[in-house]
């Protein structure tokens, strides 16, 4: 398990715990001083990311998921999760 602290450029401080197998994400905990509406969106995002590959689709897929679920995030974006993990 990898612990990552990532300062989002112009944003908040992301604290991630990631189970990575190469570029395969087996699990992730997303913490930090961000805001998310509704708050339980963070669980949905964590669940969505299980089994995802850190490839060129990752950011788009995650962005689309966040939008389709009607989750609003302030302080980081899909790209920041990718950048923190890679």
């Amino acid at each position: 398990m990898k612990q990552i602290i990532y300062k989002v450029p112009g944003g908040k401080l992301l604290k991630l715990k990631a189970h990575l197998d190469g570029n395969l994400l087996n699990g992730i905990e997303i913490r930090g001083d961000f805001f998310m509406y509704p708050e339980d969106g963070v669980m949905k995002i964590q669940d969505f990311l299980v089994g995802k590959i850190l490839d060129e689709q990752f950011v788009n897929n995650l962005s689309e998921f966040i939008m389709s679920e009607g989750i609003e995030v302030f302080g980081f974006g899909a790209q920041d999760i990718y950048d923190a993990l890679t």
């Binding site: 604290k15 001083d33 961000f34 805001f35 998310m36």
Partner: protein, 252 residues
């Protein structure tokens, strides 16, 4: 339109957060919107909903100093609640007093604080998403959640600030840069006392920001009110069963 105005004085972190929840639920059940002013006794550290206590707070140091630790239902970062005025504002999302989108609603509710600053000759500005600054320095942090169709926004207005003590209580990811971080925070944070060049008291602040909210929301009748026995009982229940409960404090 009426807004209930509550001045609940200084209470424990657990009661303060329990009362915020109890009052929000009252608004969700059709009660009038609420503006509440309060403080913290003992002083306390609150962390954001998405933070983990063990990662953010030196809990044994807090215990040694008699400082409460609490986790909020709102996002955002860790806050040392000491010499500050705290407010909570609860209003239905559908109420036209506050715009619906999240960013705009933060700005609208912060309007009462900005207006209060004018009384003091202090030019407070809103910086999205959730900060208020004076001359580029943070003087107030705000956090909002939305539940049951109700916006709960609470925020702190710094009366004076002890950055060194705050850093004794918070855990820093990298101890090596601690001194640098303290110096940076001292440069970036200010308080009303330091802006005014004199001691600015809690009671004075309540008066100033009460007038600020009244002027900013000038179509509203603010009705001074008391916490009902029922609300108090519910707040105590939440304080005991939720906010001071280790499952809540250390979960995430």
């Amino acid at each position: 339109m009426k807004v209930r105005l509550l001045k609940t004085g200084h209470n424990s972190a657990y009661y303060n957060m329990g009362l915020d929840q109890a009052l929000s639920e009252g608004v969700a059940n059709g009660g009038d919107p609420v503006l509440k002013f309060y403080g913290w006794d003992p002083a306390a550290i609150s962390i954001g909903y998405f933070q983990k206590m063990q990662e953010e707070v030196d809990t044994s140091k807090c215990k040694e100093y008699g400082i409460d630790i609490v986790r909020r239902i709102t996002g955002g970062g860790a806050v040392f609640h000491d010499q500050e005025l705290t407010y909570s504002f609860m209003i239905p999302i559908e109420n036209e007093l506050v715009r619906k989108p999240i960013l705009e609603s933060y700005e609208d509710i912060c309007g009462g604080i900005i207006e209060g600053g004018k009384d003091l000759g202090i030019d407070i500005q809103f910086v999205p998403l959730n900060d208020l600054i004076v001359g580029g320095k943070k003087v107030s942090g705000n956090a909002q959640t939305r539940k049951g169709g109700v916006i709960l926004q609470h925020g702190t207005i710094l009366l004076s600030v002890d950055v060194d003590k705050m850093f004794e209580l918070l855990l820093i990811p990298n101890e090596k840069i601690k001194d640098k971080m303290i110096a940076t925070v001292k440069e970036r944070v200010t308080s009303l006392s330091s802006q005014l060049g004199r001691e600015f008291s809690f009671d004075e602040a309540v008066g100033v920001f009460e007038r600020g909210f009244k002027r900013f929301f000038d179509k509203v009748e603010f009705v001074e009110s008391e916490v009902t026995d029922q609300e108090d009982a519910l707040a105590r229940k939440y304080a005991e069963e939720k906010y001071s409960n280790e499952d809540w404090l250390f979960k995430m």
